[in-house]
């Protein structure tokens, strides 16, 4: 076939291909035919063949060989060929290719063509893919067209100038005079193009912006005309007269009014007028109102106008169209800090949006709700947030729990409320909380001294209901270990007490120990808690002894380590057990990551941060293990709990003397500042009634920058007046 198929036929054949391979085959044949046609002399088929090639290109196949054909067709005197040629140029050529330069001359000629439709092609192409070089070359032509041509060409020249200014900002100066006079045109297309061009010029050049401030009254007039005019069939969209132009004028007024009292004053009335007269039932009106709100919030508006703007956003929240609800929330997010009180008034509607079907709307509602939390609304807002948490999409859970904890920390009305809230979160979404939650909660619990009984009751009940949530189980174990005696007493002021026996409590801990759901860290918590109970219960200490002894052969090295040491605590160091396992003192809150600025007073880059004990183990320094390294037991960076201890043991020739008794007091703190800027003291009472000569080895275990360290000191003799 010498002339080739029509493009419709070719398209039909390509679509008929049943497999990718078949399609490739068809394409190859067609391209070969097209290439052949291109090589021939002008036979009137070129534009059809290029069109076919463009279709093939859109399917994703290479079409470079068509580039020169575009250049040829653009130079053709025939309009239909020019049209396809220019289309081809916009699709196949981009400014990065050399071939694009070849069309510059054609464009130049066509810009002055007698037919406005040919001029239009040139303007469109230049405005779409003109390179900086082409733009520089042709800018004067565009300027000429801006001044002297009909509306059809002027409107296109204006937008072409926009492209030129984006490519070569310096050329902005060239277009400034012409664009000013365009504002007096009546044609909406030209006005629209002029406003877009002026916006571009003002955004790039502060001097130009200063100049155009003088045009504010004119722009206000045009806008007023649009808003207050009657029905104009040509430009009407859902009852709004040319919403496209209105939106662009509002945007320009925003740029001109920013940071300028005079300009802002001049538009205040107009903005109020637009806000009250625009019907927002359809998208067109909402688009105009949206732009109005953006402008009000960005310029120096009167407070009454700002409230009006926020109310518009509030009304948007109630709109049936979810697009409008979404837009409202993104806008509210931007102003929630600066116009907090105004946004608070719409809190109810915002909170309702937490239940929206759309995940992006939900996310926005969450962000806004968290931004609106205050001391006044914390109780009611937290109820909504917790409700949201129970059904929120998985991708939002971590962020929600995080936000809830922050809000609770800042505004908790009482410690009990705070503890309850955290427990609620752990029960609902304990798997999505950050690691620090466990030590943070433990710290909070220790400080709420009057609530220990209440807390341990709540946690015990939670534990026997469900042991799958690790964070919750860890805190529960810790609590039971510390305050288990309060549980067994069977009385509680703040809540219904449980009637449990020692066996029940030990059952609960053992279930955690044995469950395959428990992580190694959790089991560690459970074992330590069990051990601590040995000094808080009276009847079942033997059961604890046997548990501890069983875990002495556990496969898990950490668990084994502890069990062995606890075993030793039972056997050799039984006299010290009570002291070692006694109630923890209130832990000082030294929140990691928050105090860098406060305490250190320096930047986060400080090389030697405060030595901080995040984890210390209940280690006993046993005589037979004095030389064992700690490394294999301690992995840097693992948080096991805010326990810490200093340890001392006796060293003697044979075995520790029975008559000597050791009592360790609580240390004065758990953090030693760096650079020798402070110290921690721990008092030890030694009862040595027989005045035996003693040597002591003191081992201090601490963590520094996530590594567990130890220091050992030997005291060979005590001052004689001591005994």
């Amino acid at each position: 076939f010498p002339k080739g198929r029509s493009s419709s036929l070719m398209i039909r054949v390509i679509r008929g291909a049943r497999t990718q391979g078949e399609e490739r085959g068809v394409i190859q044949r067609e391209c070969a035919a097209i290439r052949a046609q291109f090589r021939q002399a002008d036979n009137g088929t070129r534009s059809h063949n290029l069109a076919k090639l463009l279709y093939v290109h859109m399917l994703g196949y290479p079409a470079h060989f068509g580039q020169m054909e575009c250049v040829r067709l653009i130079a053709s005197p025939r309009y239909n060929e020019k049209r396809v040629g220019y289309l081809g140029a916009m699709m196949l050529l981009d400014e990065k290719q050399d071939a694009s330069l070849l069309i510059t001359n054609s464009i130049k000629n066509d810009l002055s063509h007698s037919s406005q439709y040919v001029q239009s092609l040139a303007l469109c192409t230049l405005g779409c893919m003109g390179s900086a070089e082409m733009c520089r070359d042709l800018a004067p032509e565009i300027d000429r067209l801006l001044r002297a041509s009909n509306s059809y060409i002027k409107k296109k020249a204006a937008l072409c100038a926009v492209h030129i200014v984006r490519k070569v900002p310096e050329l902005g100066e060239l277009f400034t005079p012409a664009s000013r006079s365009l504002l007096s045109e009546k044609n909406h297309g030209v006005l629209h193009g002029a406003v877009v061009l002026i916006t571009e010029l003002c955004e790039r050049n502060p001097e130009t912006l200063e100049q155009f401030r003088k045009a504010v009254p004119e722009l206000v007039q045009i806008m007023k005309g649009l808003v207050m005019s009657g029905y104009s069939p040509e430009h009407n969209v859902a009852g709004i007269s040319d919403p496209f132009l209105q939106v662009r004028i509002l945007r320009l007024l925003r740029i001109l009014g920013r940071n300028n009292e005079t300009a802002s004053d001049a538009v205040n009335d107009l903005l109020a007028q637009v806000a009250t007269n625009t019907d927002s039932s359809k998208t067109a009106g909402s688009a105009v109102l949206y732009e109005t709100v953006l402008t009000v919030m960005d310029i120096k508006s009167e407070s009454g106008l700002r409230v009006l703007a926020v109310n518009i956003l509030g009304r948007f929240l109630l709109n049936n169209d979810r697009n409008i609800r979404y837009i409202s929330m993104t806008s509210l997010q931007k102003i929630v800090q600066t116009d907090h009180n105004a946004v608070q008034r719409h809190r109810g509607t915002i909170v309702d949006c937490l239940k929206d079907q759309d995940a992006s709307v939900k996310r926005r509602a969450l962000e806004l709700s968290l931004a609106l939390v205050s001391a006044v609304n914390i109780r009611s807002l937290m109820k909504e947030l917790l409700l949201f948490l129970s059904s929120c999409p998985p991708e939002l859970r971590a962020h929600t729990t995080s936000g809830i904890f922050n809000a609770a920390e800042r505004y908790a009305p009482s410690q009990r409320w705070h503890i309850d809230t955290i427990l609620h979160v752990l029960t609902t979404a304990g798997g999505d909380v950050r690691d620090e939650t466990v030590p943070n909660l433990i710290q909070l619990i220790t400080t709420a001294t009057e609530l220990h009984c209440y807390t341990v009751h709540k946690l015990y009940r939670a534990l026997i209901a469900d042991i799958s949530v690790q964070s919750l189980v860890q805190v529960a174990c810790w609590c039971i270990g510390e305050y288990g005696d309060l549980l067994l007493r069977g009385e509680c002021e703040e809540t219904e007490p449980v009637q449990v026996a020692e066996d029940d409590v030990l059952d609960a801990l053992e279930t955690v120990l044995q469950s395959h759901m428990s992580s190694p860290a959790t089991r560690g918590f459970a074992l330590t808690a069990t051990m601590k109970l040995s000094t808080r219960i009276t009847h079942n200490v033997d059961r604890i002894r046997s548990i501890v002894s069983i875990y002495g052969s556990c496969i898990d090295v950490e668990l084994q380590q502890r069990a062995v040491e606890y075993n030793a605590l039972f056997k050799k160091y039984d006299h010290m057990r009570a002291a070692v396992l006694e109630r923890m003192p209130v832990i000082d809150k030294s929140s990691p990551g928050h105090t860098n600025g406060e305490s250190a007073g320096g930047s986060i880059k400080e090389m030697e941060p405060t030595k901080r004990t995040q984890e210390v183990f209940s280690y006993l320094d046993m005589k037979y293990r004095l030389d064992a390294p700690l490394d294999h037991v301690t992995r840097p960076g693992k948080t096991l709990g805010p326990n810490y201890r200093l340890f001392m043991t006796f060293v003697s020739h044979s075995h520790p003397p029975q008559s000597v008794q050791l009592q360790m007091k609580a240390p004065s703190g758990d953090v030693i500042p760096a650079h020798g800027l402070g110290q921690v003291t721990q008092t030890v009472l030694l009862n040595n009634p027989n005045k035996v000569s003693l040597k002591m080895r003191v081992r201090v275990c601490y963590t520094s920058q996530d590594f567990v360290c130890q220091d050992t000191v030997q005291i060979d003799s005590f001052p004689s007046p001591a005994w």
Binding site: L54, G60, Y79, K156, L159, E291, Y326, D358
Partner: protein, 155 residues
Amino acid sequence: MQFMLLFSRQGKLRLQKWYVPLSDKEKKKITRELVQTVLARKPKMCSFLEWRDLKVVYKRYASLYFCCAIENQDNELITLEIIHRYVELLDKYFGSVCELDIIFNFEKAYFILDEFLLGGEAQDTSKKNVLKAIEQADLLAEENRPRQFFFSLLS
């Protein structure tokens, strides 16, 4: 506007208009990823999404998705109106437009778009004016077409 894409529910591209200079490779990558993202959206979700550092506005008309990437300062709601205007123009031109019209007459779809938008911005806010201009341009093309050429229907 940075670009506009039209694609079917199966992800087949029906029109692509780029207003920013990008290599073929980059265009393909963007197209692939964005099409995937939009097709994954559920029917009840809103028309706006944040994608890379751009705002994306999309709307489905019958079997075609109309998808635009706009800049941060651009108004999403008016972009929806722009998309709607373009669909109205196609509908008026083809007479109850459907996807097949866009497939078999893709050059016309481009010509109409290029008469409505220039450099990503609206040239004329009057539907009547745009349609009239296209009509005139079509006449001009018809006049210029060489008469002696006809297709071989049997090949």
